[in-house]
Amino acid sequence: MDMLLIAELSINGVFVGLMYALVAAGIVLIYKTSGIANLAQGALAMMGGYAAWAFATLAGLPIWLWLPAALVAMFFAGALLERLALRRMVGQPIIMVIMLTLGIEIMLRGILPGFFGSSVKRLDIGIPTTPLFVGELFLNRATLIGGAVSLATILLAILFFNSRLGIIMRAVSDDQTASWSVGIKVERAIALAWGLSAVMATIAGVLWGATQGVDWSLSLLLIKALAIAILGGLDSLPGVVIAGIIVGLAESLATGIVDPIVGGGTRDVVASVIIVLTLILRPHGLFGREHIERV
């Protein structure tokens, strides 16, 4: 086997994995605060991509304006989604809430391309398309930058969870009644989590939009993100980074090495195999929060 090819696949895989991880981090953020697995995260990323495209192309803004505009708009979209849809479900069985988020995912997948047109939209964030040669390695510039930005965003999120506001949000995820009893505005904390999660989805949507264009298929990121979130442990941000790298690597190597043998199509199998295997072998994921039991 060609070592150079493997090195190339690995490096690109790691950075693609980090870009997946950013979507997964949004799922973790909401799970960490409200205990709900948000299945609309892929659609939020797609929506973020469309929002960025709308501000950039329809409104014709320069990048230093359309990017913040898209992030702010999506923050409120996320918070509004929680306010209008999710908050009504308080006290309902958890499965109903998860089904609701899945419904939102499917609905957005239909509505947004229907509204903006289903052709692929180009989103330019100023990354040159020429590949980068490091020694003899042939690397994708957009992926490298995308992976680095994703990692930085996730690190910011980790820092955030250690701030006082972050502690309050973790308290909400631990015990909502107790949070209420010490004066935490639980509803507001959860709405904030949804807003921040939508912001992270938007960053991911923009990065992916810049590499593959904006269309409905951005929402398919949900599957990879779910695989990563489940492997990482659903409530661990560092877990998401590690799991993201694992999934990215596995996918990239599978495409590069197994595809020529079986004739293609392994890329999308990898994520689903990881979901199934994790759930069977280690349901809490690699870094999932342990259930505390005093002896």
Partner: protein
């Protein structure tokens, strides 16, 4: 003037079960009042009426008023009531298990803006409960029952309350820890002038620290008065304080001794 007044409160759970049947209670400024009674008497429900935590349990106040510091607070949501100065330490401690003790304390400061003041409050709590400072590396879920109870009380104090509602602080604790907890409660009440409304099954310990007490049975107040009066009441002694020390078994009647109030 009294800090907290409950006037003729009625509570219905699930629209059918009348759990509290017209209860009126007063807690004076800086007072330490105990609410005694057996399981299911409605003690915890009354605390939840005051703190507003009844709603998540499908309970509803169908009659009566709750006035705190001269204001009607029944329409306020729980976080708003905490901001007015009343805080509820829930039964079973309910610390944030995956947070460290210090993070538990910080989580209760959402109403404070001043960072230096928050720091100072945390330090105060750690000097009040040195054991929490020692265990600050561990997640709160791994603390012992007594440590968790102290953390729950410290967490409530972080909100700087005028009134603290304590629900069964002695639940599941060893006797020497019960003494320690009650000693702490007395100190908090005496030193900072924080009023305390204490719900307890451990009537002996509660009547030792409280100034006055109410006795609740089946959702009604059946007796109230100063702690001394209640302690010396023969019915209370018989039913809640373990009776007199010598029992003459020849004189024991073959029917159950009736309480002298109607329940």
């Amino acid at each position: 003037m009294s800090l907290l007044t409950l006037n003729n409160i009625e509570v219905v759970y699930d629209s059918v079960f009348l759990a509290v049947k017209g209860v009126s209670i007063e807690v004076p400024d800086g007072g330490l009042v105990a609410l005694l009674g057996a399981n299911g008497a409605g003690k915890s429900t009354i605390l939840k009426v005051i703190s507003g935590l009844l709603k998540p349990e499908r309970g509803l106040v169908t009659r009566g008023q709750v006035r705190f510091a001269g204001e009607d607070i029944l329409a306020l949501d729980p976080p708003e009531r905490v901001r007015r100065g009343l805080v509820h330490v829930l039964e079973g401690r309910r610390v944030f298990e995956h947070l460290t003790p210090e993070e538990n304390l910080l989580a209760a400061t959402s109403m404070h803006r001043d960072r230096a003041r928050i720091r100072q409050l945390v330090d105060e709590m750690f000097s009040l409960f040195p054991r929490l400072a020692e265990r600050n590396k561990a997640k709160a879920g791994y603390l012992s029952g007594g440590e968790q109870q102290m953390l729950a009380i410290a967490r409530a104090l972080m909100t700087q309350p005028k009134l603290i509602l304590l629900d069964e602080p002695s639940l599941g604790l060893a006797p020497f820890l019960v003494d320690e907890i009650f000693d702490t409660i007395r100190r908090i009440n005496a030193e900072s002038g924080t009023a305390v409304l204490l719900v307890e099954q451990n009537a002996v310990a509660a009547l030792d620290v409280a100034q006055s007490a109410y006795l609740i049975e089946q959702g009604r107040i059946v007796m109230s008065g100063t702690a001394e009066v209640l302690k010396s009441n023969p019915d209370i002694q018989q039913a809640y304080l373990g009776g007199s020390s010598q029992v003459d078994y020849h004189a024991v009647k073959h029917y159950r001794r009736r309480k002298r109030w109607l329940a």
